[in-house]
């Protein structure tokens, strides 16, 4: 059982001595991100409440941090970093493509239904 682990994260900026050290390093990184999310979620700083591309800047930050976390869980905990690029791409891009499509359709339609509700002739508040 030959197991070569790639021991670098952040594109080689941080290199660990052993696989176990890398696991703890990733845990610390994920905990820091979660802590940032929780602190932002509790205090909701005023300057992040502005809208960027139709959504609050704070929500964009949450979603981006979530994808960062997902990346490190998949790459280091699920060993995708050590798999062949072909397998990695088959797994990641299938999901990314289909999920983007699904999210686009559903959110678009949700927004449309909302517009029908709010500009229609029927009141929904009685």
């Amino acid at each position: 059982m030959a197991h070569e682990h790639k021991l670098e994260i952040f594109r080689g900026a941080l290199k660990f001595k052993s696989n176990i050290q890398k696991i703890w390093g990733v845990l610390i990184f994920l905990s820091i991100i979660t802590a940032i999310e929780v602190i932002l979620g509790i205090y909701k700083p005023e300057f992040l409440m502005g809208y960027v591309l139709g959504m609050k800047a704070l929500n964009w930050i949450f979603i981006i941090l979530t994808i960062v976390k997902a990346y490190y869980i998949a790459w280091d905990f699920m060993h995708l970093r050590d798999e062949l690029p072909g397998l990695r791409r088959a797994i990641v891009w299938t999901g990314v493509f289909l999920i983007c499509y699904l999210v686009f359709i559903l959110l678009q339609e949700g927004g449309y239904v909302h517009d029908v509700y709010s500009s229609g002739f029927i009141t929904h508040d009685f």
């Binding site: 059982m1 197991h3 696989n19 176990i20 696991i23 703890w24 845990l27 994920l30 905990s31 979660t34 802590a35 999310e37 929780v38 932002l40 979620g41 509790i42 409440m49 929500n59 949450f62 979603i63 941090l65 979530t66 976390k69 997902a70 869980i73 998949a74 280091d76 905990f77 699920m78 060993h79 798999e83 062949l84 072909g86 397998l87 088959a90 797994i91 299938t94 999901g95 289909l98 999920i99 699904l102 999210v103 559903l106 959110l107 339609e109 949700g110 927004g111 239904v113 909302h114 509700y117 709010s118 009141t123 929904h124 508040d125 009685f126």
Partner: protein, 327 residues
């Protein structure tokens, strides 16, 4: 990775078996197939949640007001703290799982056993927390009145703090009635649990307490719920109030749109079910490790495959956490 497969003697030939496309064994490949399809199922659910949220974007409940409880700390408003703890527990159990896989690569039975054990404990703590969270959500906190159109009226004091219905409603002992049960009348008619107070009692309570106002579901431009004036409050409650709602179920919920509770039960329930099955798989593997099955097989790859599933459950939770509690 070839150690789990019995050799056929024809390995040198391309179609002779024993090949591992993409250098991943059959079992591992199938686990990835399952994970990708399950990821699509979960994203379908979360996208459907997004659909409903965009549909009711102006009236959606504020998560910080819904999930504020922490066990043993009664009456304190601590949004996010408990769910952050749950997230940490799940990530931590993911870490012990990777450590178990790593120990498996070194064929260290004792270490694999201990790390698997800690993983199972972490999973159980998470599911238990989930159950507690559900119980708190179902039980409810302040109560609300549902209008004829299905919107909610909640109650706040002059400073905007929430007020529970039980703290101001004027109970009318003459209006009390018992829940109808099959044994005590029409045997073919059912009735759900009755709310503690009737709408009339809440109206009386509102009239008697000068400083209590009605809050509607509508969000203003700052993301706060709209509070009505005193006269509007009484008028709205009197004209439109239909049902007192306490806690949440699949039909009504005191926090906001009923579909919010439906999605909460469905998505966290589906995820909780995944955690539960993960725990069962982990226990099976745990006993196999103790019995020395993988020791004899010379490969702990089964730990790695179950580990993939376990990390996937963690991965899904990261998204559920964001979309239910943060965004």
């Amino acid at each position: 990775m070839s150690t789990t497969v019995a050799n056929t003697g024809t390995e040198v030939k391309t179609w002779g078996g024993g090949n591992e496309p993409l250098r991943a064994s059959y079992g591992k490949m199938m686990m990835w197939f399952f994970i990708v399809s399950d990821a699509l199922t979960f994203s379908g659910f979360i996208a459907a949640y997004g659909f409903s949220r965009f549909k009711f974007i102006e009236t959606w409940p504020i998560a910080d007001e819904v999930f504020t409880h922490v066990p043993f700390l009664h009456g304190q408003e601590l949004p996010m703290i408990y769910v952050a703890f749950m997230t940490f527990v799940l990530i931590m159990s993911s870490v012990t799982m990777v450590l178990a896989v790593d120990a498996g690569h070194h064929l260290n039975k004792k270490k694999v056993t201990w790390y698997m054990f800690f993983t199972i404990i972490g999973g159980i703590i998470f599911v238990g927390s989930q159950a507690w969270e559900w119980a708190t959500f179902i039980k409810g906190d302040y109560g609300a009145v549902q209008t004829r159109s299905g919107n909610l009226l909640q109650f706040v004091d002059a400073e905007g703090h929430r007020v529970a219905i039980r703290d101001f409603a004027v109970a009318d002992s003459h209006a009390e009635r018992t829940q109808h049960e099959r044994k005590s009348g029409l045997w073919f008619v059912n009735e759900g649990t009755l709310p503690t107070y009737t709408v009339d009692e809440v109206v009386k309570g509102l009239e008697a307490n000068e400083d209590i106002l009605v809050r509607t579901e509508l969000l203003d431009e700052n993301g706060h719920k709209t509070v009505l004036s005193r006269s509007e409050s009484i008028q709205q409650l009197k004209n439109n109030g239909k049902l007192v709602v306490e806690g949440a179920n699949l039909h009504v919920n005191e926090y906001g749109a009923p579909i919010f509770a439906d999605f909460f039960f469905f998505i966290t329930g589906f995820h909780g079910f995944h955690v539960f099955s993960g725990i069962v798989l982990n226990i099976i593997i745990f006993f196999n490790v103790i019995l020395g099955t993988y020791e004899r097989r010379g490969s702990y790859e089964m730990v790695e495959k179950v580990g993939l599933y376990w990390h996937f459950v963690d991965l899904v939770w990261v998204f559920v956490f964001t979309f239910f509690y943060l965004v």
